[in-house]
Symmetry: C2
Subunit: 332 residues, 2 copies
DNA sequence: CTGAAAGCGCTTACAG
DNA sequence: CTGAAAGCGCTTACAG
């Protein structure tokens, strides 16, 4: 039915081994032999069977990317970059949507893929560090995000404390004094970014007001919109808001527009992620812009290095470069 | 090294066949045997090797989704829905980013996946119908989008002519008379949506003005922004714009904001896709909203039906339900 | 229900 | 360079 290696060999008049050598770019093939084999491959439309290859070699050249949701712009953009970075290296990426559910994340770690993948890039949301430690994937794993890896795994992440410090300090430098934060709850992202936020307030001689720190229930536009409504209902509303991601900021901007408030005159807004929406929103959104291409490229490179067998015990922790992009939402 | 089926069999004190039967939910297993086997699986942490299974069965329970780019909101949202729909049925989705490049699309069709996948859901951009016809994937294929399938393949798509007619007619009903269109160029999407646009103008007794039909170079925000700038530079600028997707519309809104024009008072804007950004933009975006979950579920169901062996010759063409969501960009 | 065996399509020592 | 053969881990007739 499907053409096999042996069919190609027969047609080219060479051994199976030689065809395999050609396909895998092994040395010691004369140009003439290579030509013959390639002609036979083309004539038969032969494609190697990856299941068979993977079964035999124990390597598939597939890696998994496990993210909470691919419909969310930050993860969509990141997934696109990681796919590209992998493709450049001849690797295919399988994307797992965990929806942030512990069970789904555990499935990923348990090797749900049935030994098909060679390694995994994992952006955890629900899984606690303790569980991560016990996760015996048996495959190399690179962590994304602020969740501390406990020195167990390689990790690639923005220095969120410093970035949040910068974002908040920017608002301080504008003369704002009642600076709120949206997204402090739940995840470790919230905790880490709040740390930088508070640090900046302290450095500016401001005390943080618990009433201005909103947790919300998630990191999406509706959560930002709802949190902003709470802030506006305060006896003394804020004159600036640092949202812990752009989606929250976009939701907050929507609430401010509905309330007829001017941005940045009445309330200045800063986000985090630099997703494309923020660059076209009215007003355009000031934000922390991590270098996503750098992130993707280094995460893939790190993983492939481990897959290739580099197992030294010094687990690497890479810090993603970022910039603060000042746009209309803070600079009228 | 890795535990195998035979290890489980040995530990459970049963035959390899019995373990396989349990794993694959075959009948005629006593509860007691099943328990023993499941205990052994749990104790050993056994996971079936999908490469071996796929090699033997000729089926992997993997399908591919080939889209131009996963970083683009519409495709990101659609990909998320398709992943979910597939997961519900025990199927895993591999996502291929073609970047709309002919070579990449051809690779997909040539079965680059090396017979790993059971079928493919394909959203073509560059590949012409003629090439599609000749594509001998050897696997079931479901087409997405307006590109006519020529009766060759199953297809799931919005009735873009009708939807564009509705969008344009909505602008007419607002009393607008100089209604521009952005995105008429290049792709078959542009051609089809222009058809509906012109039809609506004609039905309203308006003639279409070539100066108001902008092709642009793509379907992203910058393209929409640039096209809108061209329209504003016209001696007689439009009083409404139908953008052939939301990204174009969001770019156009940005240009209008920069120009100090009011939406919808000066210019009304309609998009197509209903991506989440449009629901939070200021102003919120009126748009054609296809039922993405319906689309995803039916595309997956159609493909799995073919994979299961339904090969009747009546190729199916499913029409995705949609609504016109009227928001601030047309209803002040 | 069980057990022994073949075979899916590769890669890889092995002997030449 | 070639050729013959083993084996990756499954599933599946086959005989019982």
């Amino acid at each position: 039915m499907a053409t096999r290696l042996s069919d190609v060999a027969a047609r080219a008049g060479v051994s199976v081994k030689t065809v395999s050598n050609v396909i895998n770019d092994y040395p010691h093939i004369t140009a003439r032999t290579r030509e013959k084999v390639e002609a036979a491959i083309a004539a038969l439309g032969y494609r190697p069977n990856v299941s068979a290859r993977s079964l035999r070699k124990g390597r598939s050249d597939f890696i998994a990317l496990a993210i909470p949701e691919m419909g969310s712009p930050y993860f969509a953009e990141l997934g696109a970059e990681i796919s590209r970075a992998a493709k450049r290296r001849g690797i295919t990426v399988l994307i797992d949507q965990t929806e942030g559910e512990p069970a789904a994340e555990q499935l990923v770690l348990d090797g749900m893929r049935g030994q098909l993948i060679d390694g995994i890039i994992f952006s955890p949301l629900a899984t606690a560090p303790a569980n991560l430690t016990s996760a015996d994937t048996g495959k190399p794993l690179v962590l994304l995000g602020e969740r501390p890896a406990g020195g167990q795994f390689d990790r690639v992440a923005v220095d969120s404390v410093q970035a949040s410090y910068d974002a908040t300090t920017h608002l301080v430098s504008l003369g704002r004094r009642r600076i709120a934060a949206i997204g402090v709850g739940g995840t470790s992202t919230g905790a880490v970014r709040r740390k930088g936020y508070r640090k900046a307030l302290k450095a500016a001689g401001l005390t943080h007001d618990p009433a201005l720190e909103l947790a919300g229930t998630g990191y999406h536009r509706p959560d930002g919109a709802a949190s902003m409504r709470e802030l506006l209902a305060l006896p003394e509303p804020p004159d600036a808001v640092f949202c812990f991601n752009d989606l929250l900021a976009l939701g907050a901007l929507r609430t401010l527009a509905d309330a007829g408030l001017r941005v940045p005159e009445d309330v200045a807004v800063v986000g985090f992620d630099d997703i494309e929406d923020g660059r076209y929103h009215s007003p355009t959104l000031t934000t922390i812009s991590p270098d996503k291409e750098w992130l993707a490229d280094n995460a893939v490179a790190l993983l492939l290095d481990r897959i290739a067998g580099n197992n030294d015990d010094t687990h690497r922790d890479l810090t993603v470069p970022y910039t603060l992009e000042i746009r209309e939402s803070t600079a009228g």
